[in-house]
Amino acid sequence: MIEFSKGGPAMKAEGIGFSVPRKEGPEKVTGAARYVADRIQDGGIFGVTVRSRVAHGRIKGIRFGPGIPWEEFTVVTARDILAQGWDNRVASIEPDQPFLAEEFINHAEEPILLLGHADRTLLERARRAVTVDVEELPAVLDLDQALACASLVGGKGNLFKEFRIELGDPADIWARAAHVVEGEYLTGAQEQLYIETNGMQAEVAPGDPAAVTVRGSLQCPYYVHAALTALFRLPPGQVRVLQMATGGAFGGKEDYPSIIAGHAALLAWKAGRPVTLVYDREEDMAATTKRHPSRSRLRTAFDAEGALLAMSSDFVLDAGAYTTLSPVVLSRGALHALSAYRCPHVRIHARAVATHSPPNGAFRGFGAPQSLFAMERHMDIAAARMGLDPVELRRRNLLRLGDRMATGQVVTEDLDLEGLMDRALADLDYEGKRAAFARHNAGPSPVKKGVGLSLFMHGCGFTGSGEQHLASVTGVATTASGLVRVLAAATEMGQGKETVFTQIVSEALGIPNDLVELAEADTREVPNSGPTVASRSTMVVGRLVQDAALGLKRMLIQERCLEEPYDAEGFRTAVARAHARAGGLTCSTEYRQPPNLSWDEVNYRGDAYPTYAWACYGVEVSVDTVTWEVKVEDFVARQEVGRVINPVLAAGQIEGGVTQGLGWALWEKVELDQGRMINNQMTNYIVPTAMDLPRIRVYFEENNPYALGPGGAKGLGELPMDGPAPAVLNAIQDALGVLALREVPLTPERLLEAMEAEHEPG
């Protein structure tokens, strides 16, 4: 159920707005696509990681047990790194995380040493034969305890990041408001669960300086590149990083691959042989980053008509034991805490606190799903308290053109969020279902039905001045055979970047898609176009690619190789001629911050994002009040994402994101015991199957093209993760008439507890 955008008369059937099939589709459906574990390395060995079993402790010694031919093994510890004078800290926002633990262990599953051997069976036996003697220390795993602590592993007052967003002054609003509503909302960790586990291969050519080559499953080639140049203290040209086919990522292959790449390269250096280091599922789930657990304490004031007067949020993320990406996850979370509402007086206090949990990291949505869950859930609770319909309460507070957001950013789009919401409700038949379910729920059936919605936005691209700092570069080049070749480090991980970039270039040049090729994400060949994260690839990198393609066309015309008008064959001939004559032409583009955007990164004032995608999601649920199982019966996802470049691929992104959001809302629970994940298997960490969900109905609106996006496109990859959880819990509230639903995942056990708490006397 897609509303296709219609291309204008001048548009080619292959360019922007058309559902061109996925470029790399044939190799994926035939099994020909090559992922890291599929690649054989001649003379190579395998690597494994020995990890901590405790959350906090001091290493006393390492023992290598009997029955293993240890002399055949390559063993790497932190001492090897330090003895070479290398840097044991992973390059990131703060270099506080070691590749291998030195003296102290700060979280369970922390890497301690690496083993390499050609025989994988023997290698696993050896891993189990290593004993790390640890003096165990008390671990801080609870949020309140962590907030009260002095520094555990670093950070200021045990916080990796703290800031406030302030608008107006709510101080004297609370007392005079008609309604003040308070609530606490909790969200759990979530595993990305890409179906291909993390893995890397490394080769090290000895020499002075040595040359390190790493390839594998990753989102951000230049993050890995930076980590390896820092680790080995090498000049940039001595490190080469290549992405192989990547079997899903969702943020889970944003920062952790730097560690795996370092480990593989250390083993390869010491062994003098190529190394393959691929995690099995249990290790991947237990050790790698998850969505940050969060706690939001919200307080809102409304006037008698339901207009939002003031809002305060105390937003806390459990960062885990090292900084990793937590400061920026916190930023995005806090910047979405008010959702898409107008509010004159705002206080948001945001903190990322250190605990002895494995570090949490990037996962689609990047903090926004957490804060939006709180606010969108809170709106339904507030509506119930005030005796208002949740749709009505939203209607009275939706952002419009000219309104100010929490950072003072002025809405410059001619937004019609009310229309967006009304159309989503019509898609769902919200009113009809509400009436029918009220009658049904009054009857004897133990199955109760409800509908709910969420209204939200997602900031596109990096937060604040992030893009300015990145200063991404792309290029478009000629090839000898007359193709144009896109040079960008953006990675394909299933989202469709290969196809979308092809369409952007073919549209810009008026040529067929088969005249466009994309260079492999190989740091030796492509410039640093930034990480493939933050819903930025189409909007930001795609625009740079578009500009580079247009620049190349101007160069071709200036070189008198190309004349307009041209057809496909004429273009191809012209490119080939220019390539032969000039030895290849490349047009490069670098990101420049638009002059009308300003951001104060100390006080969190100004334009937090260059633009936003907006959405209203509606859901119908049925709840079995015997088993407390929740079934999602219908789901409508309606969004404004600017121009849609490829409707089928875009719908696939929305459907996939909604599914992950529903998993987070209802089933996906990370169980920790003393800081270790204990359900680190697909048997007992439950993600949705095809049978668990209805057909997700996706609708795009294209009323507000973004002038700086290619063809008017905004970012959309993360948006669908934000809306499902609050919409589902709002629907459950509607079905059961119970307000105390404040935590996801809302498992049947938690729902039963909430019902019992609600019905307890007193």
Binding site: S19, P21, R22, E24, G25, P26, E27, K28, V29, T30, G31, A32, A33, R34, Y35, A37, D38, Q192, L193, Y194, I195, E196, T197, A245, T246, G247, G248, A249, F250, D280, R281, M493, G494, Q495, G496, V648, L649, A651, G652, I654, E655, G656, G657, V658, T659, Q660, Q681, M682, T683, V687, T689, A690, M691, L693, R695, I696
Partner: protein, 160 residues
Amino acid sequence: MNQGEMRLEVTVNGVPRTVAAYPMARLLDVLRDGLGLVGTKEGCGEGECGACSVIMDGKLVNSCLVPAVQAQGAQILTIEGLAQGGSLTRLQQAFVTCNGAQCGFCTPGMVLAAADLLRRCPDPSEAEIREGLAGNICRCTGYVKIVDAVRQAGAPPVRP
């Protein structure tokens, strides 16, 4: 052959193959390491995700749960054997057209599970497709485009 290994004779994608394997080696590893057929993927190693699905003697199996000894003499179809003569099957083409593959890692198993379903049930309803593919986890698509692909492949061809 190493001590303890057996001589495993299997017909893979129509071709008789002989390979040395430990009796309890996983069929998944025999296919990938022994026979170089790396289209079959490992997702979980415990029969939950279906990424390693292959068709053995006409039945869809998780190759991570099949010991080599159980495959002795079997006929096995892997993803590499589906397209014949270099052209995609109708099902594979539908996966490309409908965007049924995103990251592609669950795809070999998913396509074989769908092929197995279509053999048993040539024109399945959406509910039958969802049930038929419930043993194969996809984390990218939300399954809608996969269902579309299987429906398109299963629907009788439109006659001119």
